[in-house]
């Protein structure tokens, strides 16, 4: 029996092709994932992300606990509502998950974790709490649904659809969230996303989710599925846990060194394994130059410094060519050519800096 979000009937009514996504019955597209991708890059699309898990950490000492538990430094969060992207690491320095944490009050931090890793993350955090901060409470908010509205028109359409939210969120800066009272109860509106476009991720009580979805559709926000979600995030150079990193690799070889604060004196889980341990591999972008297929996860990459492997690959509608993230030996640099084994042939690909696209436009120089 697959798990369902409160929007399951809305997806089916919109003609979604549903798939089993890690035990969840989710929409992969509603007719054309390329059209949905383009709608997000040019206008506004919406994703049901209710399968992800919101977890509320409350109590005195919440900040201190997170300073220890997370690889990124929550002391960067001074303004209420401010968000931080971080990895959750094992003592060995490898990645348990990536997540976003919002500072709401000194005794209240909200964390959003991936769907497939939610149970694992919660068990891990509870284990840490038991030894370090028994007075804190960790509450998985399975009562909440979440809709990510993304695109250049996303915020304007959210304001049109959800009366009363504009005044409270017009001045919200990127990577900041706010709790807003509305006719659907309390909305948690965050100016965050997984597409490289502007927009809001809106959490609402599950029983009101379908109404919100309908209101957004009525002002022209296009339902977009997991297929478009993957092509959008890859164009934006954003990692996907389970593909681009997992418990076998460190953030330093996953393009996530920028999310690990090794500079401050605080101790955190995984720090000792990473300090003074530069990695011999890096995660970097590739664009396919030769015709012959699509770059995909696990394809071997041949470079002048040794072999590597693609971790995520797809066809980019915005670039109109195949793109990928690949774990390659350090030293391989943007502009260099590599060879990718696609079926039985070696196809030429060029190493590029991330992201591949931003604000609807390709950033990759022509060959």
């Amino acid at each position: 029996m697959l798990k369902q979000t409160p929007l399951n009937a809305s997806h089916r009514a919109a003609g979604a092709r549903m798939v089993d996504f890690g035990g969840w019955d989710m929409p992969v597209h509603y007719g054309s994932q390329i059209d949905e991708h383009n709608a997000v890059r040019t206008d506004a699309g919406m994703f049901d992300v209710s399968h992800m898990r919101i977890v509320d950490l409350e109590g005195v000492g919440a900040r201190d606990f997170l300073l220890y538990a997370l690889a990124n430094n929550v002391d960067k969060l001074k303004e209420p509502g401010k968000a931080l992207y971080s990895c959750l690491l094992k003592p060995e320095g490898t990645v348990i998950d990536d997540l976003i944490v919002y500072f709401l009050r000194e005794d209240f931090f909200r964390i959003v974790v991936n769907a497939g890793t939610a149970d694992k993350d919660i068990a891990w955090l509870r284990g840490l709490l038991a030894t370090r901060a028994r007075k804190l409470s960790l509450e998985p908010r399975t009562d909440l649904a979440m809709i990510a509205v993304q695109g250049p028109q996303a915020r304007a359409k959210v304001w049109r659809a959800l009366r009363g939210t504009e005044a409270a969120t017009a001045a919200l800066k990127p990577f900041v969230a706010k709790r807003v009272d509305s006719e659907w109860g309390e909305l948690f509106i965050a100016r965050t996303g997984y597409t490289g476009e502007d927009g809001f991720e809106v959490a609402v009580t599950g029983t009101k989710a379908a109404e919100l979805w309908r209101a957004l559709a009525a002002v022209g926000v296009r339902p977009a599925g997991l297929g478009a979600r993957d092509t959008l995030r890859l164009e934006a150079g954003m990692n996907l846990y389970g593909q681009d990193m997992d418990e076998n690799v460190s953030p330093l070889e996953s393009g996530l060194a920028w999310t690990v604060d090794l500079a401050s004196p605080r101790d955190f889980v995984g720090k000792a394994a990473l300090v003074d341990h530069p990695s011999s591999r890096q995660l970097i972008g590739l664009v396919l130059v030769d015709k012959g297929g699509v770059l995909r996860a696990h394809q071997t990459v041949r470079t002048d410094r040794g072999d590597g492997e693609i971790t995520s690959g797809t066809f980019s509608p915005t670039l109109n060519q195949s793109i990928a993230l690949a774990r390659l030996p350090t030293g391989v640099a943007p502009g260099e050519m590599v060879r990718v084994l696609v079926r039985d042939r070696e196809l030429a690909a060029r190493v590029v800096k991330l992201p591949f696209a931003r604000n609807g436009k390709s950033l990759v120089p022509p060959a």
Binding site: H29, S32, Q33, I34, G227, K291, G292, V294, F315, R343
Partner: protein
Amino acid sequence: MNIPANLRYTASHEWVRSEADGTVTIGITDHAQGALGDLVYLELPEVGRKVAAAEACAVVESVKAASDIYASLAGEITGVNKPVAEAPEQVNKDPYGAWLFKLRPVEPSAIANLLDARAYEASIGDE
């Protein structure tokens, strides 16, 4: 689900049409293009290539997956649809119009061994 009655089908979701000149035209079904999603790459066989029945001789790639296309009947490739190879999305839009390749079968009567529309419909009902 669109399954024209005048065509023959395979369990691997190719459609096959007999032509007056004795060749057959082959493409992929509406079911196949829906399952694959937006097609972005298409590789067709060389004209003149001799293929065995059920031999993989073409490749389609959608955003999410690569899929082999099979020859359906033993024979020789006599034509390929180059414009569709340049615009694979045509297969999603018009799977029965956007043919992929033509072949001259070694045994023309073998087409009768392929699934008819009703049998194909029953076979995908189980998927």
